[in-house]
Every structure is written in structure tokens, then in C-alpha cells.
């Protein structure tokens, strides 16, 4: 595949700034340059906070905290009533967890 294909195929919309900032500021290899942008500078934290911490709060507000910690894929223990209700709701919506239709 040529680089041209990558660019033109499907015509992706221009990347959202938040997606770019998340990757460029928070991911990638960290090296010690002569001029080091200290990502932990209080000032930059305001940017990072807006991007990451604020969204963490928002997610918690929504009742989502499963991405915290390592065991995000393990379900909360002891909540069988919730599990049961979920199964009912999902089957009512035509979704069978564990046996999703695939192409």
C-alpha cells in the first residue's frame, strides 16, 4: 500500500484536536532533551487536567470507573442482582452477551 492510499482511502475527517493532544502530549517515548518541556508544570497540568482528569471525573459521574486499575475487565464481585438486570435488559434489546452475532 502506498502512502497515498493511506491518506485518500475512506477520506478520514481531520483529527479532532483532543485526540491529537491526548496522543502528542501524553503518549510516545519520553526523552531528555536540552530544552525539556516539563509536562508536570502546573500550567500544563491545566491543559492535561482538562483533557484527562476532568474526563475521569465525568466518567465517574456517569458511574464508569472500570478503566481504573488493572482489573478493568473483571466484573465487580457480588453484584449478581445487577448482572441479572443487565442480562434482562440486554436480551430485551436483542443483545445476548457472550453470543454476539458476527459477520
Amino acid at each position: 500500500m502506498s502512502s497515498r492510499d493511506l491518506v485518500s482511502h475512506g477520506g478520514p475527517a481531520p483529527a479532532q484536536l483532543a485526540d491529537v493532544l491526548e496522543r502528542v502530549l501524553d503518549k510516545g517515548i519520553v526523552i531528555a532533551g536540552d530544552i525539556q518541556i516539563h509536562l508536570l508544570d502546573i500550567e500544563l497540568l491545566t491543559v492535561k487536567l482538562r483533557l484527562l482528569v476532568a474526563s475521569a471525573d465525568k466518567a465517574k459521574e456517569m458511574g464508569i470507573d472500570w478503566w481504573e486499575g488493572d482489573a478493568f475487565l473483571s466484573r465487580r464481585n457480588g453484584d449478581h442482582a445487577l448482572e441479572e438486570r443487565l442480562r434482562r435488559l440486554e436480551s430485551a434489546a436483542g443483545l445476548e452477551s457472550g453470543s454476539e452475532d458476527r459477520e
Binding site: D19, G28, I31, Q36, I37, E43, I64, L86
Partner: protein
């Protein structure tokens, strides 16, 4: 007199040639690996904390970082560096390559032939809650007070159900998408202030997939179709340079 330095975007194979029509981006090689770098005016990086909070400056620089890496990724593997690595002299860039060669080569080999795809999940929460509420049978209550209490309790249960559905959908979608990827990571969902959308983001994940492989796209389409009755939708972004899959944490993840 302006003092110049070298801004380093990322690392590529040592024999790569980059075609930059503007002649701004250069390859600085130590033979084995090479840095993608551009000559910059050091004064631009003065008073950095102020600059970083200048949204226009930050957006321009972040998008430049991204577009240079994206162009580099089109012709071979690239290991993205985090924003803001500037060296005074070209020799210092070569020294960086020498010092961290083993680690950078390992990262290059791991992402070779692969791209990063982002997957975001959104929920139209009001629509989800409305559909859950309409599923409940409205039993007649004896008194207005009792009817009020029952209505409040029903509202709370609907909210809880909606949250449970959203969390379960995120877990289930991530598990399904991992089956279509070499590996994947979960990042924090962006708040509405960042997305500017009416729906709430509940999933923000990234996956490393073979370049040109569309099976993750197909899985995302299948997820969107399956979850449409619950007012959930999924979207793919990218391909991105593999920002989420380089560095120490990635190696630990793969090793474990």
C-alpha cells in the same frame, strides 16, 4: 542572531529517506536508526509554560508534531516521541539514538507493519434512559404521595440501569475489539467540553492492528448495529502513528 536547535518528532529505521517538499524535516541517522527532526528557532520555546497555555500555539505545534509523524509513518515504522523534545546540537540527537538504540529498535520492530486505530464509544444517555423508562410498566399507585415516591425510585433505577449498560458495553466492546488487534489500551473518555458533542463519550480506546487490515472497522460497525437499540454508537479514528504502543509500559504489557 537567532539560536537554532533540533526538534525531534520520532525515530525511524536508519536507512529511511523522508520526502519533505518544504525541506524542513530532516533525517538524522546514526546508521542503525534515525531521528525525524526539524531545525527550530530556540526563542520559540522560551517561556514555555506561557506558550503551552496559548491554545493557538499549542494546537499549531501539536498538529505539526502529528502531521510530521503521520507522513513518516506512511513509509515505514515510526516510534513517536512525546511532544517537546528539543536538542541544541545535531550531535546530541545522534547521542540520543546511540544511548537508547536497543530500546528504540525493539519499539520499531514491534510496530513495524502496524498502525494504531482509535475507537470511541458514545451514548445518547437521555434516549437510553427514555427507552428504559418506557419499558417499565407504570403500575397505578394508591395515593399521590406514594405515586411520587415510586416515580422517584423508578427514575433512580433507570439511571443505574443506564450506567450499568454503558459500563458493560464498554467492557464487552473492548474485549471484542482486542480479538481483532495485536494489543489495545484503554484511555480515559473525553468530557463533553472537549468533544463538543451532545452524546457522552464512554469508551476511548486504541488498538494496534496490521496496516490495511479492516477487520477492526468491521467489528466496530457490528458493535454499532448491535448497540443501536440502546442508543450507543462506536467510531474509528486513525490510522495514527503508534503513540499508544511505544515505550516501557508497552514492552511490559507485551512481555507479560
Amino acid at each position: 542572531m537567532t539560536e537554532t536547535g533540533w526538534y525531534v518528532y520520532g525515530v525511524v529505521d536508519g536507512d529511511r529517506v523522508l520526502d519533505d517538499p518544504a525541506g524542513r524535516v530532516h533525517v538524522v541517522s546514526n546508521g542503525r536508526i534515525a531521528a525525524v527532526a526539524a531545525s527550530v528557532d530556540l526563542s520559540e520555546f522560551d517561556e514555555l509554560p506561557d506558550r503551552l497555555n496559548d491554545e493557538e500555539w499549542l494546537e499549531a505545534k501539536a498538529r505539526d508534531h502529528e502531521s510530521v509523524l503521520r507522513a513518516a509513518a506512511a513509509g515505514g515504522p515510526v516510534v513517536p516521541l512525546r511532544f517537546g523534545a528539543v536538542y541544541r546540537r545535531q550531535e546530541d540527537v545522534v547521542q540520543l539514538l546511540d544511548e537508547r538504540a536497543d530500546e528504540l529498535v525493539a519499539d520499531l520492530d514491534r510496530v513495524r507493519g502496524h498502525v494504531e486505530l482509535g475507537v470511541k464509544g458514545f451514548v445518547a444517555r437521555k434516549r437510553l434512559e427514555d427507552s428504559l423508562a418506557s419499558d417499565r410498566s407504570a403500575a397505578g399507585a394508591a395515593t399521590p404521595g406514594r405515586a411520587y415516591l415510586e416515580r422517584r425510585r423508578a427514575e433512580r433505577e433507570v439511571e443505574d440501569d443506564a450506567s450499568a449498560i454503558v459500563a458493560d458495553a464498554a467492557r464487552s466492546a473492548h474485549a471484542r475489539l482486542l480479538e481483532r488487534a495485536v494489543t489495545g489500551v484503554l484511555n480515559r473518555p473525553h468530557p463533553r467540553e472537549l468533544t463538543g458533542r451532545a452524546e457522552e463519550m464512554f469508551l476511548n480506546a486504541a488498538y494496534l492492528v496490521p496496516a490495511g487490515d479492516r477487520s477492526l472497522h468491521a467489528e466496530v460497525d457490528a458493535l454499532t448495529r448491535a448497540y443501536a437499540p440502546l442508543a450507543l454508537s462506536f467510531e474509528v479514528t486513525g490510522p495514527w502513528p503508534p503513540y499508544n504502543f511505544v515505550g516501557e509500559s508497552s514492552r511490559e504489557e507485551v512481555a507479560s
